[in-house]
Amino acid sequence: MDELLEQFLIEGRDLVVQAGDDCAALVKDGGARPVIDSAFRAIHTLKGSAGIVGLAPMEAMLHAAEDLLGEARSAGRPVSRASAEALVACIDQCDRWLDAVAAGGLPGDAAAVAARIGAGLHRVEGENAPEPEAPVVADDGWAQALLRNEAVRVADGAARTAVRYVPREDCFFAGDDPLALVGSIPDLLAVEVRVREPWPALESFDPYRCLLSIDALSGAEAAQARAVFRLIPDQVQVVEVTAPERVAVSAAGQGAAEQTVRVEARQVDRLLDLVGELLVARNRFGALAEESGSGAHSAAELRGAGTAMDRVLRDLHRTAMAMRLVPVERVFRRIARVVRDTAAQLGREVDVVLEGLDARVDKTIADALFDPLLHLARNALDHGIQATAERSAVGKPTRGTLSLSARSQGSQLVVTLADDGRGIDPGVMRQLASERGLMPAEQAAELGDEEAIQLVFAAGFSSAAEVTELSGRGVGMDAVKVAVERLGGRTALASAVGEGTTVSIHLPAAAALTSVLTVRVGGERFAVPIEAVVQTARVPAAAVLPVGTGLAFALRDRTVPLLDLGVLLGLAPQQLGGERKVLVVEHGAGLVGLGVGDFSDRSEVILRPMAGLLSAVPVVAGSTVMSDGSVLFVLDLAEVIG
């Protein structure tokens, strides 16, 4: 993907989030000027960027949105709910298109969709516009914007008059040549030409319909400019301008921008890798300190230096991990958008409430959270929130509410998705459990309400009868549960009949990403934290010598005891081949070699602490779910060696 487009996709997402946020606020309360300004800025920038990367339909559609907001700004009037909703639809469409562009390009119907949405924006704008009135000379919102836009080309204080000329659509028939007319303004400093609606497709272009709106800056007196348009005073506004409050605006903008630096996730990962390698090198360092042993003094000094290095390394590691934290906002916004789309598709009226958008979580988790959350949200729409008629019949507000919130709780992030739908009926669950063969009817009947509700998480609970277009994709809540567990989290569900359902997901906020080495021992696979490993070695069978009752081998002039990891774990001893594969680990004051069947590549995994019965097993530090779905125990080597 070309770099410009890549950059656009990154920035575009942020701008869509900002604009979507502002427009959603405008739906609630159309009046707040700072919100209108912020939405205007985000949409303006997004429009510009879309144009630069050649996404003409997006640009045209955003232009209409910008116009709508621009009008509201200059007229100093609030944005109506209808307008704000049209803006939200426009931003949602941009979000969809960003997905499409990331996947290859805009869909074929983009221009048509842009035209429809753009026209919608114009229509609501027209409906809400006040009765036409004589141009107010003090009304200089657009003029100030024009001054700011043209600041690069027009020296401060040079412009004295701003002209906004909106020619009538049929002006060409009247013999007008608007640009020529603008060209005759004395002391013309700058001209901006805009199109008033999305560009029509070339095939349907009416060459005799004027679609333009022209803004100009002049160094001449307002009266001189007005004289140019004396025959068409109804189509122009001429205002006197003063120096803009440009400084304040740009300063505020820059302050915010400089606090963050965009860093590619790849680079942060690389940094983490390097920190990991440093940790391993540090382990070697400790071993060398022992080996060097030319004098007790120098060994102690080396150890001291090693300790200092440890401290810095831990700090570095923590900082690098923190860089991977991202706000949940983007994931939440995408979910909100899909929920709106889906609700519209189902004819449900649903408000999406988002809370705790600032809560931060590891990027890996944020990315992986999308699918399970989407599934939960679809479930809530499909099975939870009732249709409007049913809701009013039971005395609920006709608009359903789906709230998605996040909060930090210690080192955990708790994500909650709640609906105010019909809730889960434990009676129905018991019945379904026996019908679907999960358990005999008698056993199901004995389940408490709480237990019965939890059956939604049981594998194989969703049946074909339930498979709908929305949530039925061959996965049920059990898939959500498994996906969350893969992230090192857990899922909890509460529901009250008639009131709604709440699903909470507890996740480690900073993914405990641990570098592990996978080893094969006695036919089983285990993971070993790479921090514990000083080095791996292949020792020829001939180099393994019996020492006392055990075995040992020489490693750089040192005799290292060799233990069999299989035997230590109570599994079969390793087959003795031509060479022994050995993990060299630090133990107490020295090194120990652990014979293994094989070792494979290192990988980054999310370490889950052991729960339940297994937590009593001391040799296991935790477990991890590998990308192929298999569960691997992560060994606590210090405990294993004992």
């Binding site: 510009g48 144009g51 630069i52 050649g54 003409a56 020619p167 060409f172 007008d176 040549d177 608007p178 640009l179 020529a180 001209v191 901006e192 030409v193 199109v195 560009w199 029509p200 070339l202 095939e203 272009f205 060459p207 005799y208 004027c210 679609l211 333009l212």
Partner: protein, 79 residues
């Protein structure tokens, strides 16, 4: 005739008025995108609007007064 096609290039000559709009649109619809304004003395708004709408490309060189200005207009349409 002030609007002519030469291969893939559309050449505008002299004072191009609103009456040339249809012809220009027609040529642009035939997948011609490059427009040469070097001999153009005046461009009616209707034609400018078509060039903007069609995202036309301007040929290099041309009338010092008109071309940079139209080029900037087309650029703002794109960006």
């Amino acid at each position: 005739m002030t609007v002519e096609a030469e291969g893939s290039i559309i050449r505008l000559t002299g004072r191009c008025g609103v009456e040339d709009a249809e012809r220009l649109l027609d040529l642009l619809c035939q997948e011609r995108r490059e427009v040469d304004l070097s001999a153009c003395e005046h461009l009616h708004t209707a034609l400018v609007q078509i060039l903007m709408g069609a995202r036309a490309e301007l040929a290099e060189g041309g009338a010092p007064r008109l071309v940079p200005w139209v080029r900037r207009l087309l650029d703002t349409t794109k960006g």
